[in-house]
Structures are given as C-alpha cells and as structure tokens.
C-alpha cells in the first residue's frame, strides 16, 4: 500500500495536549468512582521518516499514548493526527496506514500456524489476493521465519512470536509503525534481530514510534527521544541532547554488601545528590549516585559507608540511562 501523501514539512504524527482519563469503580458495599489521569497533556511531533523513541517507567502513559495513536482508545481531550488524519474522526483511514507491533506472548492465534495467522490478517487488511502469497513470503523472509511458517504458533518461542508480531504489523506495508516494547522478554540474540529489522525499516523511510525500557536500544536506534513521566513529557531531544543535560553531573557507582536503608537515606539527603538508585546483583548491591559536578562526592560517600564492605567505588561518564533516571526521578 503506498504511503499517504503528506505535504513536505508536515509531521507524520502530531499529538497536541493529549489527555486520557480512565474511570473505574472501587469498593464492594460503598461503591466509589475513581478517575485515573494516565496521560496529562502530552504534545509531540514526529517527522516523516523519523524514528522516535518514547521512554518512561511503567505506568508513565507510553502505552496509553500509543493506543490512542493506533485508534484503540479515544482521547479524553486533545488533538491526535497520523499523516494529517484525525484518529477519532478518520479511524478507518488511519488504520490502513499504520502497523502496531506490541511485545509479549499474547496477540496471536496459538492454534493456527504462523501462515494462517498472516493469511487471516492479510484478508482483514484487504490485501489483493493475487499479491498476498508473495507479500507473506516477503515478510516471513524479512523476520526470519521462512521455513517455520507452517508450524502452529503454540510451539513458538518468545522470540519467534515477536517476529511473527512484526511480520503481521508489516503485512500491508504501512508508512507509519508503532512498536510498543518490541524486545521485552526476548533473548539477546532475538532482541538484536528485532532491532535490525527496526533499523532496516527506518532506512526504508518508515516513520516509527518506539517505546522501550532499554536505554541502549533507544540510544542506538532513535533519532529523537521523549521522556514521559506521570503522564507528561518531561524532556525531548536527540540522545546526545538528553545526555548533555547530565554531563555536568557526577555519577558514582558503588558495589557493596549489606548497605542499610538508613545509610542509603543519608546518601540521598546529601545536598549535592540528585538521585540514588539501588540494584541487587547476586549477593552485592549496586548503588548509582547522581550528583552535581564539582563536589568531593567519593570521599563523603566513603565516610557515610563506614563499616560497610565496599567492593568497588568509581565515578564514570553519565549515560542516557543516567539522564533518564534523573528526569523521571526529578
């Protein structure tokens, strides 16, 4: 399907002040109505042919934003357009021009073969029956599932399922693609293959909006990134621009054993410290401390860690992940 005509300079995806509220009821005897504002005034523009990343922690509003863009949810307010078409008023026209690839095990017919899954969706996308077989072969080849297409999906590994998701999203050759955490739960080799396909699609001129938790993935793939936190965009720019926002900081990594919570609290309370994250690595803890540059941080940290077995302490260059942590914990 040829891409819809778009006047030059026009964004392929445009979101203006998008808000989305979920309403739910709680309580058994005393029913109470709850309103959860998942997206609170998100605005973004993605140019034609751009690979745009949407980063944020769980519950930040990434998937809600993508679902509105994919016509699966109606916005509570705001304007959302894909290729100049309003996703509320022209949902069916938008659907012809987009592909949605989401991560995880679900979203495929397990009792059918990969080929039958693709044939069914090829019919639903109204692919010309004379072109269908060739197109299915092309996408199977592209995602590396050729030769396995007659097997039932229930026997597929997570990585193979993900590649089948990809194949389905590409069947009608849409100019705009949405990837919602496409490598989640996929082994490193499978994830690399998925990333290669995303790169090839970007080179072929597709407009791609990608959400991911993996910073290196966003860093290596995306032209531009927006960080979303608590339903709002808190930063936007190229990976280099976002990293530049934290280059004036010091990042210290401490590998230690049995650091008490109070000590972590005291580190967090230091005036020059912006954030402290902890990660358990087998028996040890990895503390990542972000602070403003110029302070004699290492010495002060060692003082606070007196009595704790410290295996390693080192300052390093800030990464995109540090920029992300600084933004979402601010």
């Amino acid at each position: 399907m040829p891409p819809a005509a778009l006047p030059s300079g026009e964004p392929a995806i445009e979101v203006a002040d998008l808000r989305r509220t979920y309403r739910t009821n709680t309580g058994t005897l005393r029913r109470r109505r709850l309103e959860i504002e998942a997206v609170r005034g998100v605005s973004l523009r993605v140019g034609a042919g751009e690979l745009f990343g949407l980063l944020g922690p769980n519950g930040a509003g990434k998937t809600t934003t993508i679902r509105v863009l994919c016509t699966l949810l109606l916005p509570t307010s705001g304007r959302v357009e894909v290729l100049g078409m309003d996703v509320v008023e022209r949902a069916r026209d938008v659907r012809r021009q987009i592909g949605y690839v989401f991560g995880g095990d679900r979203g495929l017919y397990d009792r059918l073969s990969a080929l039958d899954n693709l044939r069914y969706f090829a019919d639903l996308y109204a692919l010309d029956p004379r072109r269908q077989r060739r197109r299915i072969e092309e996408v199977l080849e592209m995602v590396g599932l050729k030769g396995r297409d007659k097997e039932r999906v229930e026997g597929f590994s997570r990585g193979m399922r993900q590649r089948l998701h990809l194949a389905r999203g590409l069947l009608h050759d849409p100019p705009v693609l949405f990837f919602d955490e496409p490598t989640i739960g996929v082994d490193p080799v499978g994830a690399r293959e998925v990333r290669q396909v995303v790169e090839e699609l970007a080179r072929a001129g597709k407009t791609i909006l990608l959400t991911t938790h993996y910073m290196f993935e966003a860093d290596s793939l995306c032209d531009r990134i927006a960080v979303i936190s608590k339903g709002q965009i808190v930063a936007e720019g190229t990976p280099q621009q976002l990293k530049a926002g934290v280059t004036a900081r010091t990042v210290v990594e401490i590998e230690a054993y049995g650091v008490p919570e109070q000590t972590i609290g005291r580190i967090r309370d230091l005036p020059e410290v912006d954030s402290v994250t902890t990660e358990v690595r087998e028996q040890a803890q990895l503390l990542t401390v972000q602070a403003r540059e110029g302070s004699q941080l290492t010495g002060r940290l060692l003082q606070l860690l007196e009595g704790v077995r410290v295996e390693r302490i080192a300052a390093r260059e800030p990464t995109l992940e540090d920029a992300y942590v600084a933004l979402v914990t601010a």
Binding site: R96, R111, A126
Partner: protein, 273 residues
C-alpha cells in the same frame, strides 16, 4: 455505524468493499479451524445434546410422546447448535480479549461487524457437530428412521438456521465486546431460548405470551422449517420468516457493533486488564 454510514463507507471505500465477503469467509474459516480443534467446544456441542436427545427419545419409546424420533433428534441437535453459539460467542470473544486478539482485530481497516460476523458464523457452524451427532445417535441407539421427506429443503433449512444463529450471536457479540464479563450472560440465555423456540417441547404447550417472543427468534422458524422438511410439509414459509428475522439481526448487529466499538474505545474495554 448506521445503515446510512455503512452505505457512505461502501461508496467511499470503493474497491476495498469488494474484499468484505472475503473477510467474512476468512474469519469463518479460521474460527471454524480453531474451534473444531477445541476439546471444550466439541464436548459442549456433543455431550449435552446427546443427553437431551436420549431422554426425549427414551420418553417417546416409553409411549409418553407421540411425535417421531426424528423430531426429537432434530430438536436436540438445534439445542446443541444454540449452546455452541451462546458459549462460543461469549467464550470466543472473552478468549480473544484474554489472548490480546481483540485489539489487533479492532485495529484492522475491515469493519468490526464483518470481523465479528466471521467469528460468530464459524462458531455456529461448529455447532453442526450436534446435529450430526444427535441424528447418528438416534439412528444407532434408538433405531430412529432417518428419512428426509425433502432433502434439498432440509439442507437449505440447516444452512439458513446456522446463518440465523450466527447472526443472533453477532447481536450478542456486540455486548460481549463492550463488557468484559458479558459472557456470564451466556449461561442465562441458553435455556430460555431452548424453551421459547420450541426445541424442547412444542410451542403449543407454552403460555400464549411466549409465542410473541418465539416469533422474533429465528431458531423458532429455523427448527420449524427443518422439521417440516424432514417429516413432510411445506417448509418454505417458515424458512422465509427465518431469513427475515436473520436480516433484522444483521441490521441490528451493524447498528450495535459500530456504536459498541466506539464505546469500547472510550471505556478502554478492548483489553483484559
């Protein structure tokens, strides 16, 4: 989507609308393929009808019923098709939601009503297991004389009946898309339809007010047509009413599904969570 909007869509979509029959047939075929492999669906469409058929036919042989065995075998078969439709439509759509399939299906450019129609027609077709099983059971165990007075009319009636049940399933399916737990309704819908449509006992034994309900339910006319075609008589008028009721269901389904899709997008009920 109203009929006017549907016709506008047809006009605007142009050649893409030519793919609509293919989309329904494709949905029907793959749904049939999946459901025919489901042990649960096969059990629902076989075990229960055979039990009811056995009770009715044993009762007839004991001299308590006067109609031929074939009459009861057909009734039990249709009961099985209806059970499969009721459980199948509710179960299939809940299962689609559980499997994360409802979102990809809503996201395709094909009208949702056609996608659901394929699913419900496929489910109703699986119910034909019931018809085959009860006829075979009646012949093997009870010695029922399987002689069809008008085989052509019988086959036409059976096909129309399956389509009618699939379309009734489409109307129900609209609510199943909107409400996550709507399949619980399916339990409540099974027995009343059996009774009101005269599948268990002749309609003449039921109170007069139930007849009005029976007249708007396509299975009433479908079973009448099938029984007349099998046992002798003119099935075509009943068949015509079955077609009229089915077309009304189709219209209602088109109206409902368009609105329900919009409501499901507003209330975020396309996903399981």
């Amino acid at each position: 989507m109203s009929a006017v909007r549907l016709s506008q869509e047809l006009y605007r979509t142009g050649p893409a609308a030519l793919s609509w029959p293919r989309q329904v047939v494709s949905g029907w075929w793959y749904q049939l393929k999946m459901q025919a492999q489901s042990g649960f669906v096969v059990m629902v469409s076989l075990v229960q009808p055979l039990i009811f058929a056995s009770i009715a036919m044993a009762d007839q042989q004991a001299g308590n019923r006067t109609l031929p065995l074939l009459y009861y075998a057909l009734g039990a078969g249709i009961m099985g098709i209806w059970s499969t439709v009721v459980f199948g439509c509710g179960g299939a759509l809940s299962w689609q939601r559980h499997q994360g399939m409802l979102e990809p299906l809503v996201m395709v450019p094909a009208p949702l009503v056609l996608v659901l129609l394929g699913i419900t027609l496929g489910t109703a077709t699986v119910g034909l297991y019931s018809m085959g099983a009860t006829l075979l059971w009646g012949w093997l165990i009870f010695g029922a004389h399987i002689h069809l007075a008008d085989p052509v009319a019988f086959v036409v009636s059976a096909v129309v009946m399956v389509v009618a049940l699939g379309l009734l399933g489409l109307v129900m399916g609209a609510s199943f898309v909107l409400y996550r737990n709507a399949n619980a309704l399916s339990n409540a819908l099974e027995y009343p339809v059996w009774l009101v449509c005269g599948l268990v006992v002749p309609l003449s034994l039921l109170p007069g007010w139930t007849h009005y309900l029976a007249y708007v339910l396509a299975p009433t006319w479908g079973i009448e047509a099938m029984r007349t075609a099998a046992l002798g008589g003119d099935p075509w008028l009943a068949l015509l009413w079955c077609v009229v009721a089915s077309l009304a269901y189709l219209g209602l389904g088109v109206l409902l599904v368009g609105n329900v899709e919009r409501l499901a997008r507003a209330h975020a009920t396309l996903t399981f969570q």
